[in-house]
């Protein structure tokens, strides 16, 4: 089978047992914590914590390999571009300049820049395990009910969960259409020029759009016939009521968040940790 980008995996772990709502709140707390802080010590601590949770939830590397590769490419590109556009950003932030060596023109490597970029890289990459945990341990429909319970309109929440539900179908259909079009002579391999490949991709996407529209009509009829949208609210078959473990998880993530803010306010007196002064 094809490896999907997001595939909820059903194993029974303490993390899976938490309610979707808990996981959403904890995810938001921890994400805000690492987004807020530029203290590499704090970020490393959160990162270590999230890797531990990743282990507990029994997610295998093979499941997330594709996602990890994409993210690393993205972050590496981001780091290079940041350096190209503002090689002295670190110096401006920390207010000192410790040059390690000079490269060329206005580009030289400083300790400040190195710390700044490493911090930023870790900051972003520590969000990844959190996101992976959330997506892979939350049943997509529970995900919708969680969104609904933090205030998102249930129709919008359901749209999200239906997208997750039909994503694999559409992916499969894309492959089928693409093969049938290739059998008519469409060249999608590297032999074709980039411009032609783009044009050819359109020949696959157009039938895909039409058959997806048919599907949408079917599903919206089915939903109307079963009373979707009748009331302002709805209940959820899959909503788990919050248990002790849920409150504990929310408490821990809230504490981590508060601790991060405290570190910034009282120890660093800024969002940045500055070892250079």
């Amino acid at each position: 089978m094809r490896n999907n980008l997001f595939s909820y995996n059903l194993v029974d772990t303490p993390i899976h047992r938490l309610s979707g709502l808990t996981k959403l709140i904890a995810f938001l707390f921890l994400t805000f914590a690492v987004m807020f802080s530029y203290d590499i010590r704090v970020i490393l601590a959160v990162m270590a914590f999230s890797f531990w949770v990743l282990r507990v939830s029994q997610i295998k590397f093979s499941q997330i390999r594709l996602m990890v590769i994409y993210v690393i490419i993205f972050l590496a590109t981001n780091a290079i571009i940041t350096y190209l556009f503002s090689p002295e950003e670190g110096v401006a932030i920390y207010g000192t300049r410790h040059e390690i060596f000079h490269i060329a023109g206005r580009y030289s490597l400083t300790q400040e820049q190195l710390l700044y970029q490493t911090t930023k890289f870790l900051k972003y990459s520590s969000v990844i395990p959190l996101g992976i945990i959330f997506l892979l341990t939350t049943n997509p429909s529970e995900f919708a009910s969680a969104l609904n319970r933090v205030g998102v309109n249930y129709k919008a929440a359901y749209a999200v969960s239906l997208t997750l539900r039909y994503f694999p179908d559409i992916q499969r259909e894309y492959v089928d259409i693409s093969l049938a079009q290739q059998a008519r002579g469409l060249e999608m391999s590297k032999k074709a020029k980039l411009r032609d490949r783009f044009k050819n991709a359109l020949l696959i996407i157009i039938p895909l759009i039409f058959s997806t529209l048919d599907r949408i009509e079917d599903i919206s009829n089915a939903m109307d016939l079963r009373g979707f949208g009748k009331h302002k609210k709805r209940t959820w078959y899959n909503s788990k009521s919050l248990k002790k473990a849920d409150f504990l998880a929310i408490l821990i993530s809230a504490l981590i968040f508060t601790a991060t803010v405290m570190v910034s306010v009282f120890i660093n007196k800024s969002r940045f940790y500055n070892p250079f002064i």
Partner: protein
């Protein structure tokens, strides 16, 4: 009957805003509580529209002009909204995949309750209860991908029954099911009808399959009008079915061939109710009089599959040691239940996938080094759903696409496209937009767009799925004409009529192996093969047994031979 009707149409007329003529004309119909009604009619007869009026999709989702009255449970439907109506009329839609909104069986069943704000705990209880009725209680946590077509449909059924509806409306319940699953579906509906109080309405054009079980009345619809409202026995002994493009049961056709005058006293509505004492003699002597056609001479092999094995993940073998030799000009059906490996085999032939072991030979030459595109020069593949193949607005451009991609010059493209369209009967539409065509015509466009590439082998995936009898015959007769031009045709299909009437050979796959490669008449009378391929025996087989013919297979074959000789005479 002294009860009040639960459904009452009175001079009911409906016209879609987008159409010039009404789709339903002056409908007058009463349905009483607890009845089981079958509504038949060809495509475009208005039968689905009638269903939409009952469940409220008209006028809620599809708007139009309504005149006359439609009362459900004594309430005028124009004063109800779709939500109130859905508490009385539960609808099981045609495409059980498309209506699966939940991520698991339990959630899907609970969907209507969720929307009614039923508390989670109560919901779980009711889901458990109703899932038991349709035998899905062991599958509550399964996702739709793990379910068969029949299981999806039973889930959909539970999803509407959970509302305690009084009317169950089935919109073409057999459309996406294989023969065995369709048979079970009809049995499940029948059991629910006998055990419960619900009124059952089935909209379907596959008459014989629904008549596998008792129905109270059959309503025939065509051109938006009710043409008949009869019990099954009267209906099949009348001319109405043939006049309105609905296929009559096969055993009825056989009786007519045998010169039997079918009357309602023979109870011919169902094969199991048919009285055969008076007619056995006639059928037997007809059977003995059928002349056997000459066996056609052997032709050269066009596609040979040798010791082919395949696996997607190197663990589970999807195809095991397949050996098939297809002769030039044959019409072959590849059958088997979902997951038996039929589509995978087609993919291997087209080069979409590569064999793990074994060889594929085209006219004796190994195709191993041929790319998808190179194979496409002589193997054409037509997908089931034409909407998945069409990517241009105009018919001409769509058919020309393959040639343009091959950089053929425009003059030659023009003459080849014109020729392909002529073969497909589409010449008058050459400059039309594809969106103006019917589903069957679109199917022809996709076939034309493959034919234009001049293939020697044509592979069609379920070419007749969802087609009524008239369109089915049109498409199939057309394919037979193409076959007469010398093109070898391979069908991937569940359709037993297609196998019987149009192919000379059926290859049955089960769990990745060829379990039979024989005449369709052999396949459809072999109980074991029928079971492992999710087929069902044809009613001709039952008829043979009922009139005391010992060799059922030869009887079925005799029917096929007779039908072909009738056709040849017609053509002359």
């Amino acid at each position: 009957m002294n009860k009040d009707p639960i459904i009452e149409f009175k001079d009911f007329t409906f016209k879609y805003y987008s159409q010039a003529e009404p789709t339903l004309h002056n409908i007058n119909l009463k349905i009483y509580p607890g009845e089981k009604i079958l509504i038949v009619g060809p495509s475009g007869s208005g039968k689905s529209t009638l269903g939409h009026c009952l469940n409220g999709l008209i006028p809620f989702s599809y708007r139009g002009d309504i005149s006359g009255s439609l009362k459900v449970k004594g309430l005028e439907t124009s004063e109800l909204d779709i939500f109130n109506l859905s508490k009385i009329v539960g609808t099981v839609l045609q495409d059980s995949d498309g209506q699966f909104v939940g991520l698991t069986v339990a959630e899907d069943i609970a969907f209507a309750l969720e929307n009614d704000m039923v508390p989670t705990e109560e919901m779980k209880e009711r889901v458990k209860d109703v899932s038991r009725i349709v035998d899905m209680d062991g599958f509550l946590t399964h996702s739709p991908y793990d379910l068969s077509g029949g299981q999806k449909q039973r889930t959909a059924l539970a999803g509407v029954m959970i509302d305690d509806v009084e009317i169950l409306l089935f919109d073409e319940p057999l459309a996406n099911l294989d023969p065995a699953t369709g048979k079970t579906a009809i049995e499940v509906i029948d059991r629910i009808h006998r055990e419960g109080q619900e009124t059952i309405i089935i909209i379907e054009h596959r008459l014989e399959d629904v008549l596998h079980r008792h129905v109270d009345r059959v309503i025939v619809l065509n051109d938006g009008r009710i043409l008949a409202d009869l019990d099954p026995h009267e209906l099949v002994s009348s001319q109405i079915l043939i006049d309105n493009g609905i296929r009559e049961p096969l055993y009825i056709t056989a009786l007519k061939y045998a010169g039997v005058e079918v009357t309602k006293d023979m109870m011919p509505g169902h094969i199991w109710s048919l009285k055969t004492e008076a007619i056995s003699q006639k059928v037997s002597s007809w059977f003995r009089s059928i002349e056997k056609p000459e066996t056609p001479r052997k032709r050269d092999s066009i596609l040979k599959i040798e010791d082919l094995s395949f696996s997607y993940d190197k663990r589970r073998q999807v195809l095991k040691n397949i050996n098939i030799d297809i002769e030039e000009g044959e019409m072959v059906a590849i059958v088997g239940k979902n997951g038996a490996g039929k589509s995978t085999l087609a993919k291997l032939i087209c080069g979409f996938e590569r064999p793990v072991e074994g060889r594929l030979l085209y006219r004796g030459e190994d195709m191993e080094d041929y790319s998808i595109k190179e194979r496409a020069e002589f193997i054409g593949y037509v997908m089931q759903n034409p909407n998945q193949m069409i990517s241009k607005n105009l018919i001409y451009d769509e058919v020309a696409l393959g040639l343009r991609l091959r950089n053929v010059d425009e003059d030659e493209i023009k003459s080849r496209v014109e020729k392909a369209l002529e073969i497909c009967g589409l010449s008058p539409f050459i400059n039309w937009p594809i969106s103006a065509l019917s589903y069957g015509q679109k199917k022809r466009v996709t076939i034309a767009s493959i034919l234009v590439l001049d293939p020697k082998i044509l592979i069609l995936d379920e070419p007749t799925a969802g087609q009524d009898y008239r369109h089915y015959s049109e498409i199939m007769d057309f394919l037979r004409e193409i076959n007469d031009l010398g093109i070898t045709i391979i069908f991937i299909t569940h359709d037993m009529h297609l196998m019987l009437e149009y192919t000379t050979r059926a290859i049955v796959l089960s769990e990745g192996e060829v379990i039979q490669d024989a005449r369709p008449s052999d396949v459809l009378t072999d109980q074991e093969v029928i079971k492992s391929a999710n087929l069902k025996e044809t009613s001709l087989y039952n008829l043979a047994q009922m009139v005391g013919i010992e060799d059922e297979t030869e009887f079925v074959q005799g029917f096929i031979d007779y039908e072909r000789s009738v056709r040849l005479k017609d053509e002359e």
